[in-house]
């Protein structure tokens, strides 16, 4: 009767979403990891953050993205990684919407090959935000190596 629960999903589906979000963040962070100056300029173009914080953000944010992506793909500390990813996506969406509101014609600085249509980026981020909230709620889903809690449940 689990199918009556509208939010019940196959653990494989949850795992699929988690890996999808994880791979996306790994890809998005890759360019920024090695070119912090360019990323710092991208953040500056949004004209939201104080100038002193630009380099600090450019040096740390891509590494947080990378670590969260890696954790999501590997299925380790999934809820925490999904929580951080959700927070980052919220911040990105706020920045993009504010840029659209102020009619800024800027490079979004999102990832290599990203669409420069800021509206499209907001929609992409909203979709990823929903996925990450879902993962935050459900946990890792299917894992190749079951953790101790799952083993305990199945044995009882």
């Amino acid at each position: 009767m689990k199918s009556r629960d509208p939010f019940y999903q196959d653990p494989r589906f949850v795992a699929f979403l988690r890996i999808l979000v994880g791979l996306f963040f790994l890809y998005a962070s890759f360019d920024k990891l090695f070119y912090p100056v360019d990323f710092s300029e991208s953040i500056r173009n949004y004209r939201i953050m104080p100038e002193w914080s630009l380099n600090l953000l450019a040096l740390t944010l891509p590494w947080i993205e990378f670590t969260c992506g890696l954790l999501l793909v590997c299925g380790v500390w999934v809820r925490s990684a999904a929580f951080l990813v959700s927070l980052m996506l919220l911040a990105f969406m706020a920045g993009l919407l504010s840029a659209i509101w102020r009619k800024l014609d800027i490079d979004c600085g999102c990832y290599h090959g990203a669409s420069q249509d800021l509206f499209r980026r907001v929609v992409e981020d909203a979709l990823l935000f929903w996925m990450s909230l879902y993962v935050l709620q459900k946990g890792p889903g299917y894992k190749l190596v079951p953790d101790s809690e799952t083993l305990r449940k199945t044995s009882t």
């Binding site: 939010f7 912090p36 380099n55 600090l56 990378f66 969260c68 951080l84």
Partner: protein, 203 residues
């Protein structure tokens, strides 16, 4: 069957079910992730050959020069060599004095922005153009002429980059940046002009 119905009715919904997330653990681990990842990023920057300062510095530091001093500061940005560029920054009041004195104003914004409005008498020299060649009206100027460069507003950098090009490549010696830029000038109601179809609007 009854118990299943009860269960499905009391289901708290998509966002409501977030209350079952073990938040304490999530916060604790999030803090660890942020700390470790930030540490990695900052450490990598320390050992990188192209490391940048933790605190952002503009590629060219524009200093507000006191009228009675000759103090000039060079940039400290990691990507710009020491002493490569020296520029003077002026505020609105000083720029107005220069305007009445007859200094040359140079607008570093794109041509269409220039046509839509600029400081009266300013010369248009978009950064992209200056990177290739210097138009005759600027090239013909005395190299000791005082140039006042401006772009859109206080955050834009094209005037500073243009200043670097004018000094380093073309040998101008007195290059100043009007930090407030076009917006500060326009908002103060000082003389402007607009060229649309090569017609002045008479302001």
């Amino acid at each position: 069957m009854g118990s299943t119905n009860k269960r499905s009715k009391s289901y708290p919904g998509f966002l409501g079910s977030l209350q079952y997330v073990p938040w304490n653990l999530v916060f604790k681990r999030s803090f660890i992730i942020v700390s470790v990842a930030s540490g990695l990023g900052l450490s990598r920057n320390l050992i990188s050959t192209e490391s940048i300062p933790w605190i952002y510095q503009r590629p060219v530091r524009v200093v507000y020069e006191k009228k009675d001093t000759k103090e000039i500061t060079t940039t400290t940005h990691a990507r710009v060599k020491q002493g490569q560029r020296i520029l003077l920054g002026l505020d609105l009041e000083q720029v107005l004095e220069e305007y009445h004195f007859g200094s040359v104003f140079i607008d570093s914004r794109d041509t269409d922005e220039f046509l839509n409005g600029h400081v009266q008498g300013a010369i248009s020299l978009p950064l992209s153009l200056a990177q290739q060649e210097l138009p005759h009206e600027v090239n013909g100027l005395d190299r000791n002429e005082r140039l006042i460069l401006y772009c859109d507003e206080s955050l834009c950098e094209s005037s500073e980059e243009l200043g670097g090009i004018l000094m380093n490549r073309y040998g101008f010696t007195q290059v100043c940046i009007f930090k407030g830029g076009w917006e500060a000038w326009r908002d103060s109601g000082y003389p402007t002009e607009r060229l649309v179809g090569l017609e002045e609007d008479g302001t």
